[in-house]
Amino acid sequence: MSTPVLQARDVSMVFGGLTALKNVSLNLDEGKIVGLIGPNGAGKTTFFNCLTGLYTPTTGQVLLKGAVLPGDPAEVTAAGVARTFQNIRLFPSMTVLENVLLGRHVRMRQGPLASLFHGPSFRRGEAAARDRARELLAFVGLGKVEDELSRNLPYGDQRRLEIARALATDPAVLLLDEPTAGMNPQETEAARQLIFRIRDLGISVVVIEHDTKFIFTLCDQVSVLVQGELLVEGTPDVVRGDPRVVEAYLGKPPEEVEAELQAVQEGETP
């Protein structure tokens, strides 16, 4: 087996006296989708922030393709890890296209002088970035609204735009923080299909989600975080059947959950 594309080794994060994460490890293989679930306050977003350089882990390491990630979000993005945010954080008064172009920033090389004089190579680079941005907008299904201000988009479209912006950085790994929060079943289904298509591009994906149905039908591998510690990891089947998960996360009698999951499975399998 090849080395995982993204690897977290015993990551701990301590804020003052509070231990938010305790020896959390995660392996993400290329072209896979890994889900991260856990109750509110379990440390999922903190873990994401450690993966993207927003926080520097108190102990432990994060490696991308075997190399330790730098401790600066901008450099982490340049290295190939992109993310979306739990609460949508677009640049609200930039247009849809400009938001995606901003994602291209890290892959463009025009310095201050080129930006000042707008020479031929500058214009080529700019045109290429625009083409790529339009391609990505079409990919997420926002091809027709590129000149809208992003703040005017409907909620679901804003989520998709955030994904397009993250994809514009040409990531090897995409981290999605609750991509279906606040979505209705149709939108959730569209999001699932979109994530599958992203995986098919060869990008590995980590998803935080509350919606267990969504996670179990989407992911190749699921990790469960409870109170900052990794409780269980494994395939959806393994995790789903684990009584500790059921107890800690779902808080319902196993039979009931089993029935619910059964129903979901029957509904989903083609």
């Binding site: 993207t52 993005t77 008064s93 400009e98 909620y155």
Partner: protein, 570 residues
């Protein structure tokens, strides 16, 4: 009330027309600010002598005509007419009351009656009230398909008309700018009437149409604009007084555009910005060969200006470096402190480069092919006023600064600056090296200010700490915000207003700053995005709750609203 709209407008318009024809002032003053001219006869004089009466006649007639002619969006058109008429009437009435010593001046005194002012004010108010009763309509958009040459022609006409409107506004009530005691109200009346005209054009969709056209023909528009700027000395503004004023406006406009990079694009509040202009001025002064200069060398102006820009840029980087750690209000305090340090250092001549309170006077005049920049010039038989070459130099400066701003804004760097303004943490998470870019914004802005400062020192022939005080920084910042953040025309308009109005309002000496402040408050209340707003900025301020977020220091937060939506969706 809707049924009342039309009768109210008709009655109001007629009262305005009648009011304009009645006498406005009752008495002739024997003392006051202009003992030798201390009369209000101007307002009692026959119709032809007082232009404000003409404006009121036109506005009153316009009210009547627009009331009957079928028009789309009648409410906005008539509101513009009403505001204009009310403005003209109020300005003149208040002036007479103020200078004439009370209400007696506009009513009855010594057996003379003068109800013109009161009638016009009431008529305009009724007209405006009537206009507000009209049904609201969607904004008119006109976009006829025309061949490109027709659009060019229209643009040309529009820009020339704008140029004439501006020159007429500025010289309303006298060409010299100082001799006429009524210049204040005359200027404001003209401004009010011109505002009504522009308001009507805006309401019928013409301004939007023309600005869209100029967007389509960007290069052509720029050429015409430059041509218009070059043509200014050939118009009624072509005298010494206005050459000096317009040159000052140009220098401050260039500086304001530079500040616009820092404040408007990157969103970093800088309260000590004029210090960079000061640095540029002192560097240029010291390299100019002036007797009081520290260095006895005289560099060619172009070289001196470049050095001034570079030195100011280096200081920009130094002042900008705290932005790596300090945000929002705290950054404003850091920059404020820098501005004060600069003033104290140059005032006390620490380092011996600034001449202290003696300043660096007698900076040699620039010259080109043997013609001094302060000399007057004759081109093709037309005698141009002195200082015209400085004016042209400053046109070049403004064009250069516009070029820098426009190109940087529409580039990878400019987008990153705007992203930093919108949400710095996310910009960083998207791979923007925010630290470097913030310092770059400070450096670029400072360099432009330094260049402007070098020109400024030569134009004034003096570099004195007194020109670079805190209130200048505030005025520049106000120019940027008033004009419209993040846009070039906004910064130019803001600088023009803030540096012309005090000149034109000399009339009101004591109240000048009061009026000025009041105007700022009114504009900020009703048009927070500035007079010429950036598309982005406009959207941002349309809904206030978004703006605060980007200044927040927390790294990631969960807004309640989204968390709530999540619960609902789960």
């Amino acid at each position: 009330m809707k049924a009342m709209a039309r009768p109210l407008i008709i009655v109001g318009s007629i009262v305005v027309i009648i009011g304009a024809l009645l006498p406005w002032a009752t008495f002739v003053l024997n003392d006051g600010p202009y003992p030798d001219k201390a009369t209000l006869e101007f307002f009692d004089a026959p119709f032809g002598l007082s232009s404000f009466r003409l404006y009121l006649e036109i506005l009153g007639l316009a009210g009547l005509v627009f009331c009957f002619v079928p028009l789309r969006d009648k409410i906005r058109v008539l509101k513009a007419v009403g505001w204009g008429a009310l403005g003209v009437a109020l300005i003149n009435t208040l002036f007479i009351i103020g200078d004439g010593g009370g209400f007696g001046a506009v009513t009855v005194a010594d057996g003379v009656t003068a109800f013109g002012g009161i009638a016009a004010v009431i008529g305009a108010a009724v007209l405006l009230y009537g206009a507000f009763q009209l049904p609201a309509e969607p904004k008119v958009v006109i976009n006829p398909k025309l061949p490109f040459w027709a659009e060019w022609l229209i643009l040309l006409v529009a820009f020339v008309a704008l140029l004439l409107l501006i020159t007429e506004t500025l010289t309303a009530g006298g060409h010299s700018g100082v001799s006429d005691p009524y210049i204040g109200p005359l200027f404001l009346s003209y401004l009010s009437a011109a505002g009504a005209l522009l308001g009507v054009l805006w309401a019928v969709g013409v301004t939007k149409w023309i600005s869209d056209m100029s967007e389509r023909h960007r290069i052509f528009s720029i050429v015409v604009l430059v041509a218009c700027a070059v043509a200014v000395p050939f118009t009624s503004l072509g005298n010494d007084y206005w050459m000096t004023i317009t040159a000052n406006i140009g220098v401050y406009a260039a500086t304001a555009i530079g500040l616009n990079i820092v404040v408007g694009l990157a969103g970093l509040l800088d309260l000590g910005y004029v210090a960079f202009m000061g640095i540029g001025a002192f560097v240029a002064a010291n390299l100019s060969g002036a007797v009081a200069a520290e260095f006895g060398i005289r560099l060619p102006f172009l070289l001196a200006a470049i050095v001034a820009g570079i030195v100011a840029g280096l200081f920009g980087a130094i002042v900008g470096s705290p932005t790596l750690r300090v945000r929002g209000d705290y950054l404003a305090i850091v920059t404020l402190a820098f501005g004060e340090i600069f003033v104290r250092v140059s005032q006390n001549n620490i380092g011996g480069l600034t001449g202290g309170s003696n300043a660096i006077p007698n900076i040699p005049d620039l010259s080109l092919f043997g013609t001094g920049f302060n000399d007057s010039l004759t081109i093709g038989g037309v005698q141009l006023p002195s200082g015209v070459l400085y004016y042209f130099l400053i046109v070049v400066l403004v064009a250069l600064v516009m070029f820098v701003f426009g190109n940087l804004k529409n580039s990878r760097i400019g987008r990153a600056w705007i992203a930093i303004r919108e949400d710095e943490d996310v910009a960083r998470a998207m791979g923007v090296k925010t630290g470097k870019l913030k310092i770059l914004a400070f450096m670029t802005g400072a360099t432009l200010a330094g260049l402007a400062g070098a020109v400024f020192a030569h134009k004034l022939a003096t570099a004195s700490y007194d020109s670079f005080q805190f209130n200048q920084s505030v005025t520049l910042l106000a120019a940027v915000i008033l004009g419209g953040m993040g846009t070039i025309p906004g910064a130019v308009l803001g600088a023009a207003l803030l540096f012309v109005l005090p000149e034109e309002l000399r009339q009101f000496s004591d109240y000048r700053l009061l009026f000025f402040g009041l105007a700022l408050v009114v504009i900020m209340r009703f048009r927070p995005q500035g007079l010429i707003a950036d598309r982005h900025r406009r959207a941002e301020l349309a809904d206030q709750d978004v703006t605060g977020e980007s200044l927040d220091d927390t790294v990631i937060k969960e807004p309640v609203a989204v968390a709530g939506a999540k619960e609902a969706g789960a």
